[in-house]
């Protein structure tokens, strides 16, 4: 796209890559990320070290108060545990639901493939909040699911679904399902059918064939799907707010109210950064362990 790049075509590093001024294309986007992502994050770090005795109106004194972290984590350890627990269960159940679905679309749908793909996304064209509201109606005490489970005596007669952890996790699972299905589908769709047939020809049972051929080949999709589900689920607070009670509140609820209601900026910043750090560390360990680098 610029003359020097043409001359440099011969010094390609990887096929199709060239040296030159091509990196300039990166500049506008990078500036955006630096100004609106990196800078606020660094600023958030400083905010988190303000002296907690200040207030939003009177201003805060910078005292490098690292104690904020210990205090915040001690005070909200149950929220951290609950957030990661809910997000973990959500990710696991999403995987169990999305894998057969993605597999069916990739291998079994024939000429209905495009139709099924559209059907995967279609429910999510409606607003996230409206979908969660309709779960509120479905899981309500007079709703069909509660009535059905009470009739089967799975739930006691005064048992509830709404305002329990089950409702919150069910909402999370529903809302993040396509984030698991689509990457899994993308990976499974690339799997060469002949490899699976070869496994069968070599007398592997369908299950062994799946475990040794299909599953490993779908790992990139599985890794990015679990990340795309776990990360937003761990920071979500809408499902807990609309489907649960303060007993089910997650870390996101606390950060939200610390920022927007109490305006306790040091606490909110401390919690935000702790959440971000924990998530990033988990993500990096997970990517290392699963040996998939192509995500980044």
């Amino acid at each position: 796209m610029n003359p020097s790049a043409t001359e440099a075509v011969n010094v390609t590093d990887k096929p199709g890559q060239r040296r030159g001024k091509g990196w300039l294309l990166l500049v506008p986007g990078m500036l955006w990320l630096l100004m609106f992502f990196l800078f606020p994050t660094v600023q958030l770090f400083f905010t988190s070290l303000y002296d907690p005795s200040g207030s939003f109106e009177q201003g805060y004194a910078m005292t490098w108060h690292f104690q904020n972290y210990a205090d915040a984590i001690k005070e909200t350890s149950d929220l951290f545990v609950r957030s990661f627990l809910y997000a973990g269960i959500t990710t696991l159940v999403c995987l169990l639901l999305a894998y057969p679905l993605a597999y069916a679309i990739a291998f079994k749908s024939g000429r209905w493939k495009n139709v099924m793909l559209v059907l995967v996304i279609a429910p999510f064209f409606t607003s996230f909040l409206l979908r969660t509201l309709s779960w509120q109606a479905i899981l309500a005490d007079q709703g069909p699911v509660t009535g059905f489970l009470r009739a089967l005596a799975i739930l006691p007669d005064d048992g509830r679904l709404l305002a329990t952890p089950i409702a919150v996790v069910a909402g999370l699972i529903y809302n993040f399902l396509p984030f698991m299905t689509l990457p899994l589908y993308a990976s499974l769709d690339k799997v060469d059918h002949r490899l699976i047939e070869a496994a069968g020809d070599l007398y592997s049972s369908p299950f062994t064939g799946f475990r040794k051929v299909t599953l490993p080949l779908s790992m990139p999709g599985l890794v990015s799907g679990t990340l795309l589900t776990f990360i937003p689920a761990s920071g979500d607070y809408i499902n807990a707010e609309l489907l649960g009670t303060p007993r089910e509140y997650m870390l996101g609820n606390r950060i939200q109210s610390a920022f927007l209601v109490e305006q306790n900026y040091p606490l909110a910043a401390t919690l935000s950064l702790s959440l971000m750090l924990l998530v990033v560390v988990m993500v990096i360990l997970y990517i290392r362990r699963s040996g998939t680098e192509e995500l980044v």
């Binding site: 790049a5 920071g235 920022f259």
Partner: protein, 285 residues
């Protein structure tokens, strides 16, 4: 797996010849059946949204139960205060955010896939981090920055758009990058060999080949932006996008017209997909 199932199924059914037909069909299609069941489950809340859009509200607010059938909600869509204004704002925000994020993201993807330079790993990391950051963290850090820069009174359209471009950007880069990485660069070399100059090659070969990735990235950006609540909630000040409007009506009760909008969003986007698909099929490739 398909062939393997076919091999084992006859052995099993040999002892039970009566079941042969359906048993075999069942083992062949069990995954498909589970997949369809999961799909049906994802449509349950949509059914509720559509049903509630025709439900006559008992009091002022829509209740969770279906009461009496009515068309009223559909004829009075814009009646609740601020509902249609919030939709307009959402469209404006998403359009601007999508255009800017797609442009910046596509340029970045080209740079990362097609050019070698120092600081690539750092660039990749900076693009990846926003995706690994929970929305509540990104929203709160942006709010803190806007407040400290004295934007407190001016939170609104501009700050929402800045935030939306930010979280859409990484997703566009990843989507376009995936497309570019799978592209055959020999096609461009061939164009150059046939005396096309840089710009012609880009316009006639590279761009059309990259287009599906760019369109996918733009669609992803639009839907992420249009549906975003958490980050918008932090950066919006007094402005209300549609998701914020829905959330805001929690206290006074949800107007039934919300479910009309929900139904429309579902139907219109589904129609768009169908039209695009038909158009794509009719066009000779």
């Amino acid at each position: 797996m398909a062939t393997a199932v076919r091999e084992t199924a006859p052995e099993r059914s040999a002892s039970r010849p009566r079941h042969r037909g359906w048993w075999r069909w069942f083992t062949d299609n069990i995954v498909l059946l589970i997949g369809i069941a999961v799909l049906v489950y994802t449509f349950v809340p949509i059914g509720y949204v559509i049903a509630l859009s025709f439900s006559k509200p008992s009091g002022r607010a829509a209740s969770a139960e279906f009461e009496t059938f009515t068309w009223d909600n559909w004829t009075t869509v814009c009646e609740p205060d601020g509902l249609c204004e919030s939709l307009q704002l959402s469209f404006a925000v998403s359009l601007v955010a999508t255009v800017v994020a797609t442009l910046l993201g596509t340029l970045m993807a080209f740079a990362l896939v097609r050019h070698s330079f120092r600081g690539r790993a750092a660039s990749n990391l900076l693009i990846f981090l926003p995706m690994a950051t929970p929305e509540v963290v990104m929203g709160s850090s942006l709010l803190a920055m806007f407040v400290s820069l004295g934007f407190n009174g001016a939170l609104g359209f501009i700050t929402i758009v800045i935030a939306h471009i930010l979280f859409c950007l990484s997703f566009v880069v990843v989507t376009v990058k995936a497309r570019l990485a799978g592209m055959d660069s020999r096609l461009e070399q061939a164009a150059m060999d046939l005396y096309a100059n840089e710009w012609q090659t880009f316009r006639l070969v590279t761009l059309p080949l990259a287009m599906p990735g760019i369109v996918a990235g733009a669609l992803l950006a639009f839907s992420l932006s249009f549906d975003d609540f958490i980050i918008t909630n932090f950066t919006s000040g007094q402005s209300q996008t549609f998701p914020l409007y829905v959330y805001g009506s929690k206290l006074k009760g949800f107007p039934a017209q919300l479910f009309v909008i929900g139904t429309l969003m579902f139907v219109v986007s589904l129609l768009l997909v169908v039209i695009v698909e038909l158009w794509r099929r009719r066009r000779p490739t």
